[in-house]
Structures are given as structure tokens and as C-alpha cells.
């Protein structure tokens, strides 16, 4: 179980004034749930995800995973405790290949066949990708899938995906959605996805709405999703539907 208590994250803005990005946020996530975190842009969703992984260091509060406060641990230690993170903007490398990244993620020298299985799960034709470098020659959609595959290869108890739809075109996303629909079988443990996409919200067990650095609503999808229609979060969804990309 993940328990976040009184979490605060402050930054200094350009006028040296303190700004609360996350403001005394409380959130409890049960094991094995598929949680979608949504809410208006700038509300603190991605920041919350980075605070859980340790990419950003919290100002105060606690993050307790299975009874252990991980909030003072560094990224590596949190990763070893079972937290995985798929970045919104996947990182490029020079010389590191897809197979290398999957081997590092799985923590063992997995075979090409095993690596291919992870790639197939994210909809990539494995043999075309396994030896390729994780560099800018890959498209945004391809990098995104490889990023997700690294999280699958880790197979940890908490997997966080920061806006998997960001930066990829609508057509790629149509395919990517299937990956998330199948994720219940491929990922054991809790899945936390930050998303504005209605189709991702639709496969959630639970939806958490974050606004102004706080949890505004949390509950089963059936309860929360209808209420989102007609709010600013829903406006985002509507814009996506009309505009195609964002």
C-alpha cells in the first residue's frame, strides 16, 4: 500500500516568492489497483509522480510504501524498493541499445527472446528494435513504447506512467491504449497513470483528481468519471477529441 501524508513541494518563482506546487496532499492507494491521476494542467500531477520516484525531493510530508517511509531515500533506493517510472519525455542515449536498457531494467542478462517479448507487449515489432540505439533516430511514439517496455521489464510493485499520451500522435496513441488495456495482465502490482485521456480514464479502477496541488476527488471510476464531464478536466478531454493533438 502507498500512503502519502501531508506532502508539500515548494519552489521559488522568479520573484523569489515561495510557490506551493504540492500543498499538504494526502493520498492512499491500495495494492493491485489501476489508478489514473487526472486534473487540470499545472495542478501538480507530474510533480506528484516525480516526488514518489524521488526525481524531485519533497519539502515536507511522508511517502510510505508498504509500511516504510521512502521519502528520504534516493532514486536508486526507491527503485530497489519497487517503484518504477516511465518518463513523460523519454531520455535519449548515445550508444545504449534497446536490449541494453531492457537488461538493465530487468536486472539480469535477459535473452534477446525475452527482450523481444517485452517489446511485443508494447506493440513494437521486436526484431526491428532490439539492437537499435535509444537515440533521436527513433520517433516519439517508438521512444514512448520503449520507455513503457523498460517499466514492464522491471515488474515492480508500483509502476508510474507520466502522461503516456504526451508527445505522440493520435494514431500512435490508438495503438498504445491497447497496451494499457492489457496492462493488468502484464504488470503485477499497482499501476498509476497520469493522463487526460478518456480512454485511459475508462480502464481505471480508481480516479484521482488533482487540482492546485491537492487531491480534489478520489473514488471508483464509475463515481468520478461522470462528474468530470463538464469540468475543466473534461474540457481537456473534449479538446483532445476535437483537436486530435495537444
Amino acid at each position: 500500500m502507498l500512503k502519502i501524508k501531508n506532502l508539500c513541494y515548494q519552489v521559488d518563482d522568479e520573484n523569489d516568492a515561495t510557490k506551493e506546487i504540492i500543498d499538504h496532499l494526502n493520498l492512499t492507494v491500495e495494492d493491485g489497483k489501476f489508478i489514473v491521476i487526472t486534473g487540470p494542467n499545472g495542478g501538480g500531477k507530474s510533480t506528484l509522480a516525480k516526488l514518489i520516484m524521488g526525481v524531485n525531493q519533497l519539502t515536507s510530508g511522508s511517502i510510505v510504501l508498504d509500511g516504510e517511509d521512502i521519502s528520504k531515500l534516493n532514486i536508486t533506493e526507491r527503485a530497489k524498493r519497487g517503484v518504477s517510472f516511465a518518463f513523460q519525455a523519454p531520455v535519449h542515449f548515445k550508444g545504449i541499445r534497446v536490449i541494453d536498457l531492457l537488461r538493465l531494467a530487468s536486472g539480469e542478462n535477459i535473452s534477446i527472446a525475452a527482450a523481444c517479448e517485452y517489446l511485443s507487449k508494447v506493440g513494437l515489432c521486436a526484431k526491428d528494435y532490439v539492437e537499435r540505439e535509444v537515440n533521436s533516430s527513433l520517433s516519439g511514439g517508438e521512444l514512448k513504447r520503449i520507455e513503457i517496455a523498460t517499466v514492464l521489464a522491471r515488474g515492480t510493485k508500483l509502476s508510474i506512467f507520466d502522461e503516456p499520451e504526451a508527445g505522440i500522435d493520435l494514431w500512435s496513441f490508438q495503438n498504445l491504449i491497447k497496451v494499457f488495456e492489457n496492462m493488468r495482465e502484464t504488470v503485477k502490482g499497482t499501476i498509476m497513470v497520469i493522463s487526460h485521456q478518456e480512454r485511459i480514464l475508462n480502464i481505471a479502477d480508481e480516479i484521482v483528481v488533482i487540482e492546485n496541488g491537492q487531491v480534489k476527488k478520489q473514488g471508483p471510476k464509475e463515481e468520478i468519471l461522470p462528474g468530470l464531464l463538464g469540468t475543466s478536466a473534461a474540457a481537456n478531454i473534449a479538446c483532445e477529441k476535437l483537436g486530435g493533438d495537444r
Binding site: T76, V91, H92, L104, A105
Partner: protein
């Protein structure tokens, strides 16, 4: 002359050799020839006027290889050698050179290899040169390789220069002249650490129409080491030249990249790219989210970069 365990280990490092190589070879140990073998198509002849060998590859030789590793294990030895390669028309061969120094003494050990390639029409050569140093003596391990490449029409030369560990001082000088339709690819991978100094000086002259050259250097400078990478591409006709220097700088290292493009024809297309920078923070972060420590992440990034 039999090789001892240290020499065998060095051979493994510089030439991936764990036994007697296939095909032609000449193993030079501490300034003298230790073993040699020739084939029906590849002859190796000792020079009479100066130290070194002529490697003569018959026209049309296909799929054969030549290994000419050098090992130095005596402290204080200064070795200089001239190796000339004559690669016949339409031959297709792999040449593996490389030098390893194990210096446990307090005097400097030095090997200067001057390699000259005469690549005939249509010939194809893959040349691999690895440098390696070890030993905890106070004496320096010094390697000053020179390569001169003369390429005839439609020939193809691919050169891989690798120096990853243990060489204190290197001055690499490369000159290449290309005739019409010839192609030259150079890939240098270099890592310096401690107080090491490495200078690479490449000069490529594109004389023939349709000739092309691609010189790519990837390097990592750690600790207090210093690297100077100088590349000059001269285009005298319709040709294509590209040079790229990409360096990761760490600790208190010093890296200098000096590009020079010299076009003497309107159809000479010459490009240079250079980048020097530290390891990107987001690369470290990504690998740490996979459970690696910062040091492990750094190692992986460097190893991938130099691959």
C-alpha cells in the same frame, strides 16, 4: 620466442587473441619478431633498411585477415617500427593491429608505429587498432601511432581506433589521400583518465571526384586528463567530407576540438560537428530509476558512448 602470461593477456586486450590467430600474422614482442605466419595470398617480409615489415596482399584476396599485434613488457624500451601494407586490386581483407604496454618499472616504455597503406583500385580494407596499457610502475606508457593511407580509385577503407585504458601519452597522426570514388570511414573511441594526455590529428585530402570521408570521434575525458582532437578535411573536387567529435568531459579534464574544413571546389560538400559536454543529468536519472547507482549509471553511459 614463447610468450609469457602477461604478454598473452596483452594480446587478448589489443587483438582479442587467445591463441594463434587464423590467417597471416606477425607478433612483435619487446622490439623483436616473436612469431610469424604467411598464407598463399598474404606475405610478410622483414624490412632490410629499417625496423618493420612489408605486408603484401595479392590482388583479389578475399575474406582473409592479418594480425600484427605488438606487446611491450620491458620497462625503458623504446620501440619504433615501420609497417607498410600493399593491398592489391579488389582484395577484401581485415587487418588487426594494436599495441599493448605493461610497464611495471620506473622507466618510460614507448612504441611508435608508422603504418602506411597503399590501397589499390577497388580494394576493401577493415583496419582495427587497439591500444592498451597496464602495470603499476612509475614509468610512462607512451604510444605515438602514425597512419598514412593512400587510396586508389573506388577503394574502401574502414578504420577503427580504440584506446580505452592505461596509455599515458599518445600522439596520433593520420593522413589520408583519396582518389576518385574512394571511401574512408574512421571511427575513434578514446578514454583518458588520471593525468593522461591524448592528441589526435587527422588530415584527409579528397582529391578524386566522388570520394568521401567520414571521421567520427567519441571520447571520454576523466580526472585530470587532456584530449586534443584536430581534424582537417580538404576537398579539392566534387566530394563529401564529414567529421564529428563528440566528447564527454568529467572531473577536471580538458578537451579541445579543432575542426578545419578546406574546400577548393564548389561541389565539395564538407560538414563538421563538434560537441563537448558532461553526462546529461536526465540520462543518469533514467538509469537510476532502473535501480542503478549513480556510479553504475555513469559506467553504463560511458560504455555505451564508446561502443
Amino acid at each position: 620466442m614463447a610468450l609469457d602470461a602477461i604478454q598473452k593477456n596483452i594480446l587478448h586486450e589489443v587483438a582479442d587473441l587467445d591463441g594463434i590467430p587464423q590467417g597471416a600474422y606477425n607478433i612483435r614482442a619487446n622490439g623483436a619478431s616473436a612469431a610469424r605466419s604467411t598464407t598463399a595470398n598474404i606475405d610478410i617480409v622483414t624490412k632490410e633498411d629499417k625496423p618493420g615489415i612489408d605486408i603484401i596482399i595479392k590482388p583479389g584476396t578475399k575474406g582473409e585477415s592479418v594480425h600484427i599485434p605488438v606487446v611491450l613488457t620491458e620497462s625503458g624500451l623504446k620501440d619504433m617500427v615501420y609497417n607498410d601494407f600493399y593491398i592489391g586490386e579488389d582484395a577484401d581483407v581485415t587487418i588487426v593491429a594494436g599495441c599493448g604496454i605493461s610497464n611495471c618499472g620506473d622507466q618510460d616504455s614507448q612504441h611508435d608505429g608508422i603504418h602506411t597503406f597503399h590501397v589499390k583500385k577497388g580494394a576493401k580494407v577493415k583496419y582495427v587498432e587497439k591500444h592498451y596499457g597496464e602495470g603499476d610502475g612509475k614509468g610512462s606508457r607512451i604510444l605515438n601511432p602514425v597512419t598514412n593511407v593512400y587510396q586508389d580509385e573506388d577503394s574502401y577503407v574502414e578504420m577503427e581506433m580504440v584506446q580505452i585504458k592505461g596509455v599515458d601519452s599518445t600522439l596520433r597522426t593520420n593522413l589520408a589521400e583519396l582518389k576518385a570514388g574512394a571511401t574512408l570511414l574512421i571511427h575513434e573511441a578514446l578514454m583518458t583518465h588520471g593525468e593522461q594526455k591524448a592528441t589526435s590529428d587527422y588530415k584527409v585530402i579528397l582529391n578524386g571526384e566522388g570520394s568521401s570521408a567520414d571521421v567520427v570521434s567519441r571520447s571520454v575525458a576523466k580526472d585530470d586528463s587532456e584530449q586534443i582532437f584536430e581534424v582537417s578535411i580538404e576537398g579539392n573536387t566534387a566530394c563529401n567530407g564529414h567529421a564529428a567529435c563528440d566528447a564527454i568531459i568529467m572531473g577536471n579534464a580538458h578537451v579541445v576540438a579543432i575542426p578545419k574544413l578546406d574546400a577548393k571546389n564548389v561541389d565539395a560538400a564538407l560538414i563538421h560537428e563538434a560537441a563537448i559536454g558532461k553526462i546529461a543529468g536526465d540520462q543518469l536519472t533514467k538509469l537510476m530509476t532502473l535501480g542503478l547507482t549513480e556510479e553504475e549509471a555513469e559506467e553504463q553511459i560511458v560504455a555505451g558512448f564508446l561502443r
